[in-house]
Amino acid sequence: MTASMQSSVGNPADEKRGMNLTLRIWRQKDPSVKGKMVTYKVSDISPDMSFLEMLDVLNEQLIMQGDDPVAFDHDCREGICGMCGLMINGQAHGPQQTTTCQLHMRSFKDGDKIDIEPWRASPFPVIKDLAVDRRAFDRIIQAGGYISVPTGTAPEAHATPVPKADSDAAFDAATCIGCGACVAACPNASSMLFTAAKVTHLGLLPQGQPERDDRVVNMVAQQDREGFGGCTNIGECSAACPKGISMETISRLNHDLLGALRAGARPKS
């Protein structure tokens, strides 16, 4: 026997196959046309499949039938790139607090009906079916989500010690993967948690201090310009966040923003 990874595990005896599911999926050819929910059946779904693998199965069927496969975004499939993101039965990334790619079919049972929709927010226009354009997030980062340090100009890394507590808290905020679940889950379609995570990450570090006021003022102005809703502190964002970014970051953003405005910082137009 050789260590043949891909064929010998296809043995049905090794697997708990057999879920039959009804999927209602949002189909929309492009942004210019109206979309609608379309019903599909998939059968013989293993509980060990990831949610995206289940959609792969559906798409293989659709291609072979000559139908248009369902477009959805995904890339790393290990929960870190932030590319995937579906509204599953009304919850961003589905019933578990994780990314869609890390959601497994064992979270469902035979006979379930599953509604699958794209993130819905006007700053996230639908590209096709379940894929949306999230470049608004990049533009929020462009507005100030960085530390201006051209390559080669950095001082020695140990020149500025950073208290471990600050560094750890900055890391917690910096784990945001920019998937957009916060916007999708928010009743106001607000991007506050995303912006706050970056403001918190950079604002906690000594390296981030020089641009702290301008950063928060410009990033908030940009998220408003993009057309995201305002935050009303409901907490759906944090509950849906696969990285568990806390509401504390929003409080910190608010604190920084009000302080910056008082100190005279104004957004660049």
């Binding site: 305002g230 759906e236 604190h255 923003l257 405005l261």
Partner: protein
Amino acid sequence: MSCVTTCLVGGKAPVVLAWGLVVTVTHAGRRTPKVAKTNSVVKKAVMAISGIVMVLYLIAHMIGNLKVFTGAESFNHYSEWIRTIGTPAVPEQTTLWIIRIALLVAVVAHFWAAVSLWRQAKRARPERYVTKKAVAQSYASRTMRWGGVIVLLFIVYHILDLTTGTVNPDGDASPYDRLVASFSNPFVTAFYVISLVLLGMHLRHGIWSATQTLGQSNRRRERTVNAFAIVFSTVLIAGFLIVPFSVLFGLVD
């Protein structure tokens, strides 16, 4: 009983005034118009601060209401005192009008911020989800907007009922008699109770939200703030509810 916001005479007034305020705020000079208009966080701060002003008033109002248990004379006297605070140094009702105007500004600002954020949220999600579940959203936070509107309608009725006496069955009587007349009607009491419960929930989310908005919350304080919000709103609303129930059950007549 003395309701201070007597200048409110109709439900439309705040809307009109709200847009008036936008102009005032945006041309006030210190903030550039752009910041106030486009900055959702500033809107939330306006909402938080105006909310705090109203909550402070509610505390005083609730404590004042409890005077009803000291008898008609005492209650009417208290009511009269409110009109004469600061006299004779200042003319009668001066302090009262200062409070009224402050409250009016707070109500209008609060309402403006709410409407504006609500419109922003509508624009941000024109196509709604076919299926949407709430995970973290408390009943209190979900009812902020409609609850707020009902509370506003209640305040209007409340003023017409007890301050101006316009809709009170015993409109020309003393404040104490008006109060008893009003709450003797179970329907009025029911409306009062429902509105106050909604107000309580509004405060429960509002206190937490204001702490967040003003940047005063953090992970350590989160539980404390939430516990405080619950206890505070419960005590406040209980304080208000004691009065109509006492009237209804004949403890006060």
